[in-house]
Subunit: 412 residues, 2 copies
């Protein structure tokens, strides 16, 4: 009898963005004339930049020539890209090329990395946050069931609210219930907030003192403009022993449809084996990837390499500047409407506190019906997002400006 | 305390092909003048065909234009590809487009699919076979530890040997120990053998009678030339209720470096939930993919689409014909040397029974040292492969011809 993994039945009804897509499709079918503006899912407006297109074209041409064809590449990624990343992104930090694992995206890495750990590890995560962290652990049986607010009994939630400026506090749990694994995402998705160096140091120190691991999602580091805000957790002393970092080309270089990201797994980060011995996570992740992954597409790795060139960096800077300008305009609009809002600086995300007791899916439907705008309900990011709503700066400028006009006309 | 998934410690030392690469690198460093011919890992000689290159170039150009740019695609794959596959590959079979899930490769799908099942499901697999099936289940805790021959206590091995013509027999275990999940791969990797329609029907009937699931790896179906050999398990009556099929563009169209494959999950295939209710695997796999995967690269999906065009099919046929001719030549050479050999028809693989008690890693080292040829040790495919060795027809014709000359000179 093929018994299923019953943990799947504990998941919420649908993956957040699938549910958003379903509701939008239903609305569009009923209102074919409505011009919908999407400020919801964190997709970029595109197109890919010239330097990326050139790199792709060159790599495609190579794949058509016997002398330059490349078949299976290393599951960990090609050295040309690992070396380039180490030099461009971690030049002054203690990260070596062979600690960088190229993948087809940070979502996959963040979903899969928990496989390396025992089924009864205790998981902490900020609330709200990117839903993949919770969902992947629900599927692995670490979270148990959710209550009616979507709060899983087995997860340790670190509330990030307007009251604490969206900065998580250390878990207030008895010593024996402290988390083994802590997911942090800064600049945060969805709140758009960042941690200062000293705020992040608190977490690194906590992980070191409690033999915990930090899974640091830095997918939005390229949006940081403020000096002194860490882009990598390895800027924090001691992090190399307790933190794995995840990065993405999706938002920075428009790779949402190309698919490339990477995980940094320092050789000094360890977990505890059943005999109490320390086991390097680098070896475990390498085994996971070589067994269940076959490498990121060669042509995509060449495109990723191009983003680190001077021209590529300039193009990324221009694109992220534009998204930041959009986010700031959305934020300013809500502020001028007297609403409470976070993000929009150092981040493409704007996080709106809904008026009164309004529920985020209720606002989703209202926004779609009244303004033909798609945003993302805060509830999708955790129970703490129930009265919040996420907007993104990833639209193009004209659409964003029109969306802002429509937002100003909302009757809330 | 971050406790690791201790099941990882039960894995063999390294993933098969990583160990092969390591030994080759060591040999090359010591013998820089040796011209090594690789008939080992199942990589194609390339290059990509003109119709695939054209499709890639067109898709790349689109990604550089705002009007045609595509960001996040559906995690399940674009409809253009799902529809094309359904029409081209399953026209006369009961498979609908929304039962086809596009991925970045069959290896990933075959590694990940076991996540959908309870941790105590019993797994059967042919011996020898592609190592990912066993390794993924070891990592999930379903296999326990291996004995010194690499035989895992928790797996049900279905021996495929020269004695039974490499056709697995139904498991000879008591009723209460029958497998819940059965991995079958035909044309088989590594033995190169195929199942007839009636031989495959036996397995479908067994799965139906025993409420078991067949995970059918059809990565090599494009090499079948013999009429009457099923290319898809859905050619077998009743399979739609008990089988999931996996396919790949790697070997058929040279996509080993591009990365694309797909899984067919009929909506009629179910597992059993904890309350005894039937749960469609289609919904579970959809949830897995939407949570932990972000879709195959758009440009690669366009390339995959192109392989199904008349020109694409002709090119695939020409490429697979060439690989088959290589495989047949290798097989014929061994036969003329008086050795026992399988495969080389309907398959790019040739499976050599080593003389006497020779061990496969011993032969690997001998072959590399004497003939500068890289093959794949049978032991890497399971305990039943200990005295066998795999060669592939994926080299180019000239290299294969030279390799055959060198093989004839071996002193065994």
């Amino acid at each position: 009898m093929t018994r299923i993994n019953a943990n799947y039945l504990n998941l919420p009804g649908g993956y957040l963005f699938s549910e958003v897509a379903r509701r939008v499709a239903t609305f569009s079918a009923a209102n074919p004339e409505a011009r919908i503006i999407r400020l919801g899912i964190g997709d970029v407006a595109g197109p890919l930049s010239p330097v990326v297109i050139q790199a792709l074209q060159k790599a495609v041409a190579e794949q058509g020539e016997a002398a330059h064809f490349r078949g299976y590449g290393p599951e960990q990624g090609y050295d040309f890209l690992r070396n380039t990343i180490a030099a461009a992104e971690y030049a002054e930090l203690p990260v070596s090329p062979d600690e960088i694992f190229i993948s087809d995206g940070a979502k996959c890495d963040l979903g899969n990395f928990q496989e390396l750990f025992a089924a009864d590890c205790r998981i902490a995560l900020t609330d709200p946050v990117y839903p993949v962290y919770a969902d992947a652990n629900v599927m692995a049986g670490r979270a148990g069931r959710a209550d009616e607010d979507g709060r899983f009994k087995g997860l340790i939630y670190l509330p990030c609210t307007a009251e604490n400026n969206f900065v998580p506090e250390l878990p207030s749990v008895p010593a024996q219930e402290r988390p083994d694994i802590i997911y942090l995402c800064f600049p945060n998705n969805p709140t758009g907030t960042v941690l200062t160096r000293s705020q992040l140091q608190v977490w690194v120190d906590y992980a070191r003192e409690n033999d915990a691991l930090i899974l640091f999602d830095a997918a939005y580091e390229a949006f940081i403009r403020e000096p002194g805000i860490p882009r990598s957790i390895y800027e924090i002393p001691g992090a190399r022993d307790v933190a794995v970092e995840f990065r993405s080309y999706s938002k920075t270089a428009g790779f949402t449809g190309l698919r490339c990201g990477f995980a940094v797994v320092p050789k000094t980060v360890t977990g505890t084996g059943p005999d109490g011995k320390r086991v390097p996570l680098h070896a475990l992740w390498n085994r996971r990837q070589t067994t269940k992954f076959n490498g990121c597409s060669y042509i995509v790795q060449r495109a990723a390499e191009a983003t680190h060139s001077p021209e590529g960096k300039a193009e990324t800077m221009a694109a992220t500047d534009a998204y930041l300008a959009n986010a700031r305009a959305i934020r300013d609009a809500f502020e001028s409407m007297g609403l409470t809002v976070a993000g929009g600086h150092n981040s493409p995300y704007v996080w709106l506190r809904l008026p009164g007791d309004m529920d985020s899916w209720q606002f989703f439907d209202l926004l779609l019906a009244q303004a033909h705008i798609v945003g993302t309900p805060g509830a999708g990011f955790g129970p703490g997002g129930k009265h919040y709503f996420r907007f993104t700066g990833f639209g193009n400028q004209a659409d964003t400006a029109e969306a802002i006009d429509r937002l100003r006309g909302l009757s809330l």
